[in-house]
Symmetry: C2
Subunit: 389 residues, 2 copies
Amino acid sequence: MTPTGTTTVIDDIGLLVTNDPEIGEGPLGVVRDASVVIADDTVESVGPRGQAADRRIDAGGACVLPGFVDSHTHLVFAGDRAEEFTSRMAGKPYDGGGIRVTTEATRAASDAQLRALTRSRLAEAHRAGTTTIEIKSGYGLSVDHEVRCLRIAAEHTSETTFLGAHLVPAELDGRADEYVDLVCGEMLDAAAPHARWIDAFCETGAFSAEQSRRVLEAGKAAGLGLRLHANQLGPGPGVLLAVEMGCASVDHCTHLDDDDIAALAGSDTVATFLPATDFSTRQPYPDARRALDAGVKIAIATNCNPGSSYTTSISFCVALAVRDMGLTIEEAIAAVTSGGASALRRADIGRLTPGAAGHAVVLDAPTYHDLAYRPGVPLIARTIGPLAD
Amino acid sequence: MTPTGTTTVIDDIGLLVTNDPEIGEGPLGVVRDASVVIADDTVESVGPRGQAADRRIDAGGACVLPGFVDSHTHLVFAGDRAEEFTSRMAGKPYDGGGIRVTTEATRAASDAQLRALTRSRLAEAHRAGTTTIEIKSGYGLSVDHEVRCLRIAAEHTSETTFLGAHLVPAELDGRADEYVDLVCGEMLDAAAPHARWIDAFCETGAFSAEQSRRVLEAGKAAGLGLRLHANQLGPGPGVLLAVEMGCASVDHCTHLDDDDIAALAGSDTVATFLPATDFSTRQPYPDARRALDAGVKIAIATNCNPGSSYTTSISFCVALAVRDMGLTIEEAIAAVTSGGASALRRADIGRLTPGAAGHAVVLDAPTYHDLAYRPGVPLIARTIGPLAD
């Protein structure tokens, strides 16, 4: 962060993605041989090379993009599930049941441990180009532990999501409705002051559409924005519920039928795809091409969590989207910048235009194509912007 | 590189992979709470935490592996082929024809440009954990240009491979036999002093089995070791040829039939799989599980090149091998360390045991499982060893 009143210029940008077609070429609004002046963390101007400012960051002719918006993570947790991953790679199917393993480890961790783990993952995400990150609770699953996880998340981001309805905790096994009462009552009351959003895992084995609807309605009444996990492990009613309830985003969407696509296309609900999850669980990839062609608004996020997608790498998600989801590189870049911003209903991020946040990624590459063309190579030379905002 | 006579200890290793089952547990010879003393770039001892030495590298309880052996790359080239990649992702099949595009760019580059590009890629590979790297020529395709590429490669590695028979150059289009005469005659005479190995691209559209045999025979007569590109784009006679000729390695092996597997299993020829290539060309992945179960010796390498696999990341290859080739993480780790060493017929690398090279990778992770479990995350905290040897 620069001191108040200081201007910074990112200069000698070979290829700048602004995400504004009125400023530059094509859907990404690309400007060549550019510079961007940032004043007090807000973009002041986009112009040719050599604009003046107090401080200069030299992009060395490389490509510069808006900072990545990772609109779906579960960063606050303790323990890992490497053994579960290994069993899965040996053939055991993923069913989400391992969430309880992480809940046990998270409850057992001290505040200091949980805070240190979260910070370490945030630093990793920032090195990987992420400048805005959404963080969900969901490994506490009791009033005190959910609130603790949200407090720690809120130390680092304003995009906090209360996900008490992640899984029924072991101590209430078989009593899902009773747990939903708790989530919608005492837990929500305690969590709401620390959260911007509410979310539920609407899936066979987690929560039904009716239970998820109760959670969303209670959250809405408490003034929270709405999001939903849906249609990850199979077809289901979650996408239609999300659209009906006006969720900002419905996430996973691995299994979309014609009705789901039509409903999404006629709505402002963003379909957020999480391809690293499909990679790490050997699920099929979602047909993002079909959704996009139908007019659905899309985003792509990491879903960083210890069970089904333990990565902070947006670049990796971009490479998978291009190889396995039928997106062009431009569509994938939009999905992790302006798409992520839409999924968080934010107009101030995901673009590099006057008035937007001065959050940027300088690549160690001449073009954004390299994010798909050079898979696995760490191409983020520098991340400009806060750890999370 | 440390001064002669200095000893270095890598201390506080939480999990050490030695690749020697007599030193540690399981096929990877794992030792917990270990340290490794290196004297003059050779491992002197493997012992418990706290061994004494002149200089101490603190692994901080993390996992330490033998440095990665990348036994198949084409690092000396100019230009890139991002546009070809984009066309391919839009549906154009890969046929290897783009090699000529790189040949044109490589010939047009100055020595200084080609050297700088090569060094930059080597530095990237080293940051990604690679301590021994094989580099092929094959983008010169004339006597002078092939020799120039080999000279530049030989500045950085002893594992240089003469691949004049990569593709018939444009100026000899349709005159493949004439070009093979050149490769086996004047070009080989000029190249042999700068190469350890000879290789050919035995594939429909490149060189026939008979042409490849001529190249290998000429190379053998010139004292070079033998390797072969085969069975990448479809079934073919290359694998059987490689085994018959006693090649150290036959590379790609995407398409293996029963006869190929049986021949490999009864030989010392290593099957080197290049999964990042299958990723970037949307080819099927090879059935490495079947090969391994039949007793075939295997390696995994990056095939770093601008057309079909522009990555230096061995970690990425490991993640693909576990997800898509049916290997366990231990088998994948062996394939990029001791497997790569076998593919180069080297007994001094790919293991961390007394007498072996002191080339090691310190992970930013407690276990090697994370190389598959955390895809896309740069987990190489430190690479110990030369840029290439």
